[in-house]
Symmetry: C2
Subunit: 190 residues, 2 copies
DNA sequence: AATTTTACTTACTAGTTAGTAAGTTGTCAA
DNA sequence: TTGACAACTTACTAACTAGTAAGTAAAATT
């Protein structure tokens, strides 16, 4: 018997990947088990219910984002570089087999997921928005970003647009996604 | 036996509603049948497969949009009024039990829907984008809209953002949606 | 060396899914 | 008034869903 101590992590990786590919309701324990070469029950051993698994995926995603933004590599960047870093998250998501934003995927499934997942989704979206708003504020104060109105609204506009652009790219191609990102830069920097 | 000659239409209405509420993979023939007070097989009588049903929903949605934009009530509006009309579609969608954009919902499910639905989704998104781009062009030429870059890119930015904002509103509330719409207006008109 | 724990497997359940085949009944046209 | 047809229902299937209970074997702990 081959013991794999990383099964728990592999399950989370696959679940995250499936959620960004097909949505929370678009994959089953059988899909994960098949990819891992184990039986369904093995997944239930590590994550008793799909709700627990889904929560763990979002929690890990949130923790990763917090780790990134609190790391000097991001923290010490200029506002412009921070924004480019943020865009690169979405660009990498698109490049990774046309995946979409985890938050957007969960928001579409919002009315058919357990409450605990909704709470995690809300927390994730809030955290993304808070960081982006702070970065926009910082950039405008530094005179590099130019926009009217509340940074909170501008952050919501940019975040919602990146989320939507990843989805739109599935129908109309990656070019549309890049066009959106470039337009944001032009709007902010001009 | 009560004969309902509008069953076909009622099925389309319910399917459209479900797709904007839970996504294409989030509802079943049983859900529609239960709402209508008929048996599953009755739905199959009108729409033999879920693929056929889904296609019919998107096709009707597209036809409705074309009818609207070609009607004098919209055609003869000023660019600013046209944009407000376009925003009102999304505002009404949000007001209707927190539904999301049909295109966005389908793009999330893109990797788990039949090819015919993907083609319909692509066509729908293209048509929305084309109209919005033309309206932005018209408005900039008339001196009422102000933005840099290609109207095609700006249209993609606005459409993707509206799509994303309806989703974000599920997690963070309707206020976030309105903030995004107001920010777009400020960005375009200032 | 004995025992416990970890990471599974086999085998199962109850519910749901899209889809089908054959029968039923009210309505309408000839 | 007969027959065709439209709009269903009943009854079913095969596949898939999340989840459970009991057993097993290797590794870690004592």
């Amino acid at each position: 018997m081959i013991r794999n101590t990383n099964t728990q992590r592999a399950i989370l990786d696959l679940a995250e990947s499936f959620m960004q590919d097909k949505g929370f309701n678009g994959f089953s324990y059988a899909h994960i088990a098949a990819e891992l070469g184990v039986k369904n029950a093995a997944i239930h051993y590590h994550f008793p219910t799909k709700e627990v698994l889904g929560c763990a995926v979002i929690k890990r995603y949130r923790d990763r984002f917090q780790l990134w933004i609190n790391n000097a590599r991001v923290k010490d960047l200029s506002p412009q570089e921070k924004l480019d870093w943020f865009f690169s998250i979405y660009t990498n998501t698109r490049a990774d087999n046309g995946k979409v934003c985890l938050a957007g995927s969960l928001e579409i499934d919002f009315n058919s997921i357990p409450t605990s997942l909704r709470e995690q989704t809300e927390a994730l979206t809030s955290e993304l928005l808070t960081w982006l708003q702070a970065t926009l504020s910082e950039g405008r104060d530094a005179g590099v970003f130019h926009f009217n109105g509340d940074p909170v609204s501008k952050a919501a506009l940019i975040l919602s647009s990146l989320q939507g652009a990843l989805q739109m790219a599935r129908a109309l191609g990656t070019g549309k996604y890049y066009a959106v990102v470039e337009q944001h830069k032009q709007d902010l920097l001009a």
